[in-house]
């Protein structure tokens, strides 16, 4: 946010009012990246009239899976040649045991990379002060807006017209 910009948080009770308010704010020329919507439930994508966010998580998971596959193959198909141990008349590397180990390591890597990937995408952990309102977890829908001072009156009018329960400066809360 630049120094001259105004930051506001507005709380709504209904999702329909929130979606209408977002539409009206768009009409005022406030783009999506100057608004953050906070809710206590996951609303369906685009329910509030927002553009879909691109996610790199599937690619992170795919990369993790490949790493897991390679580790699994290394452990089950390469290392038995380095430390040879002949058991039960089987060759040092057999397909069934190698398949089991490779599968399990691949799945482990998928799980771990999904977890780390989503934390990375969400920029977590993020414990510093952040604009927030505790009414969000009590069911209120919050819109956090940043805009230039010349839109101040119009933004307030739009929010009031769409039944905002509260309009004010966002509190910086240490999360």
């Amino acid at each position: 946010m630049s120094e001259n910009e105004i930051s506001l948080v507005a709380l709504f009770e209904k999702s329909t009012d929130t979606a209408k308010a977002i539409d009206d704010l768009h009409t005022l020329g406030i783009p999506d990246d100057r608004m953050v919507v906070m809710t206590d439930v996951p609303y369906p994508e685009q329910a509030l009239g927002r553009t879909r966010e691109w996610s790199s998580l599937p690619y992170i998971v795919l990369a993790g899976a490949i790493v897991g596959l390679l580790i699994g193959l290394f452990l089950s198909a390469i290392t038995p040649h380095l430390y040879r141990l002949d058991v039960g008349g089987h060759p040092p590397v057999g397909f069934p045991p190698a398949a089991v180990i490779t599968f399990v390591f691949t799945m482990m890597a998928i799980i771990v990379s999904t977890f780390l990937g989503v934390l990375w995408e969400m920029d977590f952990p993020s414990f510093g002060p952040a604009p927030y309102h505790k009414a969000v977890t009590d069911g209120q829908l919050a819109i956090l807006i940043e805009f230039s001072p010349d839109l101040d009156d119009k933004v307030n009018q739009v929010l009031k017209a769409n039944q905002a329960d509260y309009i004010g400066e966002p509190e910086m809360i240490s999360l």
């Binding site: 966010e53 998580l57 190698a98 799945m107 799980i111 989503v118 969400m122 414990f127």
Partner: protein
Amino acid sequence: MSESEVLAYPEDSSAAEFEDRLLLAERTSSEINQAVLQPMFRTSWKFWALVIFLSLLVLWGLFAWGYLIYWGMGTAGINRPVYWGFFIATFVFWVGISHAGTMISAVLRLLKADWRRPITRGAEAMTAFALMMAGLFPFIHLGRVWKFYWMLPYPNNRLMWPNFQSPLMWDMVAIFTYFIGSTLYLYLALIPDLAMARDHTGKWRQKLYRVLSLGWRGTEAEWHKLHRALSIFSVAIIPIFLSVHSIVSWDFAVTIQPRWHSTIFAPYFVVGAIYSGLAALACILVIVRKGMQLQEFLRSEHFDALGKLVLVAGMAWVYFWFAGFIVEWYGNEPVTRELIHEEVAGSLAPLFYLQMSANLIPIVMLIFKKVRTTPWLLLVATLLVNVGMFTERVLIVVGNLQRNFMPFNWGEYSPTWVEVSIVVMTFAGFALLYTIFSRIFPYVPVWEIKEGRLRYTVRRIGRLLVPTAAEIE
């Protein structure tokens, strides 16, 4: 989200008509938060008495484990030819119990079954704690527990390397993977509720929830990414949970021990695990519902659905058991015949009939809706299932090892006080962890229930008023 958006009752109907359905109940978001948080703060003398009792059992078990480590494995009842005794039977039982968490959470999430919503967290916690208990047994059974690091693959001056052809090695890796997966799955879905608890508590709880919620604010981007991650987890964890009990079964099936060397062992173990796991979950939900006064969230509609799942899993278990048994019986191979005789008419007969009756009677009971929807009857039925499944594990591990292809090497087994104490320790440890978890973390997934309420409304179809769900996920 307001009630008026969620509950679109026709003007001429009463909301009370539908109040027995969780996702249609008239509650504000704030009231739901409080209804979940308040039971976490209520700790009566009964709660502390339970914690002390369970802790004493755990301490006694730890003493027994220390005794075992100090005096050696000779203090356990295992001996030639029964090298795997109570420890491994209980290990298999706990791995089985862990399966319901994934079954409920991942499978039902993918199928968008709404009745799962209030019970997913309890199921996921059960998986994590059951795996912790299962994971103790390889250490305990090892005897010289300090040598465990020999199983880890790293270059060393012993010039030894783990044998990746061994099912025991697969076991270690698979269970570790399942434990990581189920714990992270539990934690990810918990983050929004930890943020809710952070906003509504103080003192040490607020500090704990603040750290664990990682700075969650509930932005659209956070929800979108969380949903995506949970979807990937749900898909990825299903093959893991299927593989874990298959691998446990291969510990047995890849040997040439009669009655173990069977191709049907993997699916038989998986089905048995789902049967016992779902039954254990039903037991726990009935007890937690009573203990935490969660009648509002854990309702007859949930027990009914869960009871049906237990019923179906039970029938599948019977099918797999019979499919294995008939082939062995028809083969009439001498050692197998001797083992079957021991089971049905010999020294193992009491255990065999206990197993069969404790597994079959609940199937008959659960056919009736009255049993599925009456908590104490459901508790009786599902406790019986777990008695039956534990006995089945003992019969598979201990019973079958007493006879083999070399009659001079036949023998008997009975557990010692050390083994019994350690097995009891794991049951007490599981109950203790679960009890503490239920008072520290929101037991009911609040955000999932609120999300479910977004979907539901009441519609008039002809003369009927019926709940209907919208496709919004």
